[in-house]
């Protein structure tokens, strides 16, 4: 077990960082990315570094590898890895340490392997650079072993494959195998699972944990998500604005955080055990309290605008057996093969309710939402909106639908036109729908900006002036401007930091109270979906495997796949996380036997 108290300089520390400062000189003055960070990791220990974007966690991990060389970064303090100072080491010495003493696993496995070389070539190279005398055959043998070690099936065959022939999770395994080639003393993983599905994430984290124990390697796990590190590390450092606000044993920090920031961060993490009703009650109470404090308008009675969903009314949206086929080119003579992205999906959606759609990548959840929006024409089945069949309606007839159904997209950075002021971005929809009066448009937009928590004078600013969370508020305002009946949110918070994510979820819930909105909420994060959804549909490979009211799906899942998803979801309690891991490992062993 690792050292608990901070400053106790463990004699066996394999990484020792002392008063690290990283400064980037820019035109607007120096940016202090890391300001006096200290920690150490004992051999075979595991440290989590947690922080939101801009906290300096990635800058720190690059500094550990000496990867700031060649940039303008100014580094002071000391970073000792396996007894050698990285900050002052010569380039040659540093190169001999990289991969050999300390190896790194990066965030995006899709981008971190060279697309034009086989993985074998890349693995062999990683070995030969530190063991030039070993010879190709030996290096290759080692590469096969490493691939086998990280669970790539048929490693001797797959070694000749190119990265694009692997899925995301498999690629991340290859990157980890590359890290293992030279038996490093430290493995540094910077957001290793952020781009991956929940079940894949669980597997990768399990693998890292297993490797660390069996190879007695120190692990530094960097993440924005406390729940990701909870089950895998002994000690945790919480970073904010380049400083460690809290550092200590993972159980202590997560159960009784001392610093207000850690407390706020923990409070913002969506918990899969919290139900929709609890969350809504809490949000409403918080709102009443806030408005009392600020002396603003909404009376508690206004919440009555929300009418609970009733199955007796005509549903707002009725989807029957929809299916979507895509043609995939590339067979013999370019013959197309059929790929069914969605098949046989049916559901009703009633006014005022939220339907959560959960699924991993490739489950067809985005395709489904596109069909409901009629951005895609369903190949089979019917979609009825307010009793009208819109399945094959021509674009002209869809005009009113475009007003009634709006969408909020995942990436707030690319879904706003960078050349339009946000006022124009939001107001365009009104103009398209026939409003001519510029003043009226402006006042409506400004009113709405205030409602979503921005300033009316933001009207003339461009998107780049806003943070991710603010942009998502803008996107929500743009969806709201036409007073839609249904809003489809496609992963609306997955690109945001935990605390921002919490604020946006609150906003969506308040808007639902105020305007009686109906949502389809598409996401991969189980906890988020539970807290916002009345009903949940779990999708896999284009089909709904389970659907029901959210509490019963989460508390008493009927399908195997749902259960699998739930045990894979990261949890905040370090002991529970370890128990879940043991459960997964046991299940996998049983499956393999």
């Amino acid at each position: 077990m690792a050292s608990t108290g901070p400053a106790s300089a463990a004699p066996d520390a394999v990484v020792r960082v002392d008063d690290l400062r990283v400064t980037f000189p820019t035109m607007d003055g120096d940016v202090h990315a890391v300001k006096g960070l200290s920690f150490e990791v004992p051999a075979g220990g595991a440290l989590g570094i947690v922080g939101e974007s801009g906290s300096g966690k990635s800058v720190t991990s690059l500094a550990l590898m000496g990867l700031h060389r060649g940039s303008r970064a100014e580094i002071t303090g000391s970073i000792e890895v396996a007894g050698q100072d990285v900050v002052t080491a010569s380039d040659r010495k540093l190169r001999s340490m990289r991969g050999n003493d300390i190896a790194m696993v990066f965030q995006d496995p899709m981008q971190s392997l060279h697309p034009q070389y086989t993985i074998g070539n890349q693995l062999v190279e990683a070995y030969l650079v530190h063991h030039p005398k070993a010879g190709k055959a030996a290096a290759r043998k080692r590469a096969v072993e490493a691939l086998d070690r990280v669970g790539i099936p048929e490693p001797a065959k797959r070694i000749n494959s190119y990265p694009h022939e692997f899925s995301g999770g498999m690629r991340q395994r290859v990157v980890i195998a590359m890290g293992l080639m030279c038996d490093p003393k430290v493995l540094l993983a910077d957001e290793p699972t952020t781009a991956l599905d929940v079940t894949v994430q669980a597997r990768i984290l399990d693998l890292l944990d297993e490797l660390r124990r069996e190879l007695n390697m120190a692990l530094i796990l960097v993440s924005h998500d406390l729940a990701v590190v909870a089950g895998s590390v002994d000690e945790v450092v919480v970073m904010r604005h380049g400083q460690a606000v809290e550092r200590g044993d993972v159980r202590t920090v997560l159960s009784s955080p001392e610093h207000p920031y850690t407390q706020a961060l923990l409070a913002a993490v969506p918990r899969v055990e919290m139900s929709r009703a609890e969350r809504r009650a809490q949000d409403r109470a918080d709102r009443v309290e806030r408005e009392k404090r600020e002396g603003t308008v909404t009376k508690p009675g206004d919440f009555e605008a929300f009418t609970p969903a009733s199955t007796e009314d005509e549903p707002l949206l009725r989807v029957r057996d929809v299916a979507q086929r895509f043609r995939v080119r590339g067979g013999t003579w370019g013959r197309a093969t059929d790929f069914w992205a969605v098949k046989g999906v049916s559901f009703d959606l009633f006014k005022g309710e939220t339907l959560g759609v959960v699924g991993e990548s490739g489950s067809g959840k985005s395709t489904l939402s596109r069909m409901v929006m009629r951005l895609l024409e369903p190949t089979e089945g019917t979609v009825e909106f307010e009793g009208r069949d819109i399945t094959h309606m021509p674009e002209r007839g869809l005009r009113p639908l475009r007003r009634d159904v709006q969408m909020v997209f995942q990436n707030p950075y690319s879904s706003l036109n960078p050349r339009l002021t946000i006022g124009e971005s939001i107001g365009t929809a009104l103009r398209v729908q026939g409003e001519r009066d510029g003043k009226k448009i402006r006042s409506q937009v400004q009113e709405l900006l205030e409602r979503v928590g921005l300033e009316p004078n933001h009207y003339n600013r461009f998107p780049h002036a806003f943070s991710g969370g603010q942009r998502q508020r803008i996107a929500i305002a743009r969806a709201l401007i036409l007073k839609p009946k249904l809003i489809i949110c496609d992963e609306p918070v997955s690109a945001l930091d935990v605390s921002t994510q919490d604020q946006v979820l609150r906003l969506l819930s308040e808007l639902q109270d105020d305007f009686g909105l109906t949502y389809i909420f598409v996401a991969h994060d189980l906890a988020v979906v539970r807290q916002v959804s009345d009903r949940v549909a779990v999708m896999r490979k284009g089909e709904i495997v389970e659907m029901g009211d959210s509490d019963s799906v989460y508390e008493n899942p009927q399908s195997d796949y749902t259960r699998q998803l739930l045990t894979a979801a990261p949890v905040l309690d370090p002991d529970e996380a370890r128990d879940l891991r043991a459960e997964r490992v046991a299940k996998r062993a049983a499956d393999a036997a």
Partner: protein
């Protein structure tokens, strides 16, 4: 993989057919639409001051008064099977890939073109070697030493290179390097097979002049591509392995950078082989381009038509080669198993 090759080959052939049809349309149909009579067209084919009888004979011989469909059939037939041209008692055989018959020089076009092809090939391929090596090397160095004096100087020169036309740089080079300082011989083209050294001496200036223009463009492209590639995550991975900077750049960064360059290289070589008109004219090289210019000036329409077709063939073939090379360069293209 075989599928890919066959598909590309098929596409190449189809493209050739389309290009041929378009060429036919430009030379035969378009003038008709513009109101040129069969006799008027015959005048364009025959050359200077023809007699009315000669015109009649030409109209007859080329079938210019026939409907378009018949003309097109004849055009394709001539191209694929060859044609016999009779002048009174004399009969001239224009063999299989018959690109036409020049009435000005009284000879089939293709042999004339083939005569001049070695000059153009020497010029184009030689220049390509220089501009690829020079351009890519300068581009890589500039990217790696971004912001240095070398980078600024090289990019400045490249900008000049892109901006200056060949008849400026070429004439300048001729005036000073050949005539003023006598560094290079004043000479006609010498075939490589006859005297390689003389060949090299004669070709050197044209190569450099033509290469300068393209090298500048390649240097800028390489630099931009290299800078982009150096920002990729997999370059960071390569560095994190402990690879030397040289290996990072030449193994990991250069290959993705060259991928788009191979594409433009195919187009550029095709264009140059179709006739580097300016370079050949400036340096008095009797290549395909120079031949084309002479024929345009002397209104020798069959030759113009032939050069057009030959140029199209070169571009299609070069692109085909690039397409076939693509899966070798970038494994992600090998989708079809």
């Amino acid at each position: 993989m075989l599928n890919y090759v066959l598909r590309r080959l098929g596409a190449g052939l189809l493209l050739l057919a389309v290009v041929t049809a378009v060429t036919f349309w430009i030379f035969y149909v378009l003038p008709r639409w513009a109101g040129v009579t069969p006799h008027g067209m015959a005048a364009m084919y025959v050359g200077k001051a023809p007699t009315p009888e000669a015109l009649d004979a030409t109209v007859e011989r080329l079938g210019l008064d026939q409907p378009v469909a018949v003309q097109f059939y004849d055009f394709i037939r001539t191209l694929l099977l060859g044609q016999e041209f009779t002048f009174g008692r004399e009969t001239v055989q224009c063999a299989a890939p018959c690109l036409g018959y020049s009435f000005t020089t009284n000879s089939p076009v293709l042999p004339q073109l083939l005569d001049r092809l070695p000059v153009t090939l020497s010029l184009g391929l030689g220049a390509a070697v220089i501009w690829v090596i020079g351009g890519v090397a300068v581009g890589v160095l500039s990217a790696v030493k971004k912001g240095s004096i070398f980078d600024r100087l090289a990019m400045g020169v490249a900008l000049i290179g892109v901006s200056l036309p060949i008849y400026f740089t070429g004439l300048l080079a001729l005036a000073f390097l050949v005539h003023e300082w006598g560094l290079f011989p004043v000479s006609r083209y010498v075939p490589f097979t006859e005297n390689p050294v003389a060949w090299f001496q004669v070709m050197f200036l044209p190569w450099v002049t033509l290469a300068f223009l393209h090298a500048a463009q390649y240097a800028r492209q390489t630099r931009a591509g290299m800078l982009e590639t150096l920002n990729e995550d997999y370059i960071r991975t390569a560095r994190a392995k402990g690879l030397s900077e040289r290996k990072v750049i030449f193994k990991h960064a250069l290959r993705p950078t060259l991928t788009p360059i191979v594409t433009i290289l195919g187009l550029d070589i095709g264009m140059v082989l179709g006739g580097a008109i300016l370079t050949e004219t400036v340096f008095s090289l009797n290549g395909v381009g120079a031949y084309a210019i002479t024929s345009i000036v002397s209104k020798d329409l069959p030759v113009v038509l032939g050069v057009t077709l030959l140029g199209a063939v070169f571009i299609v073939v070069c692109n085909l080669i690039v397409d076939l090379l693509y899966p070798v360069v970038d494994p992600r293209v090998r989708i079809a198993r």
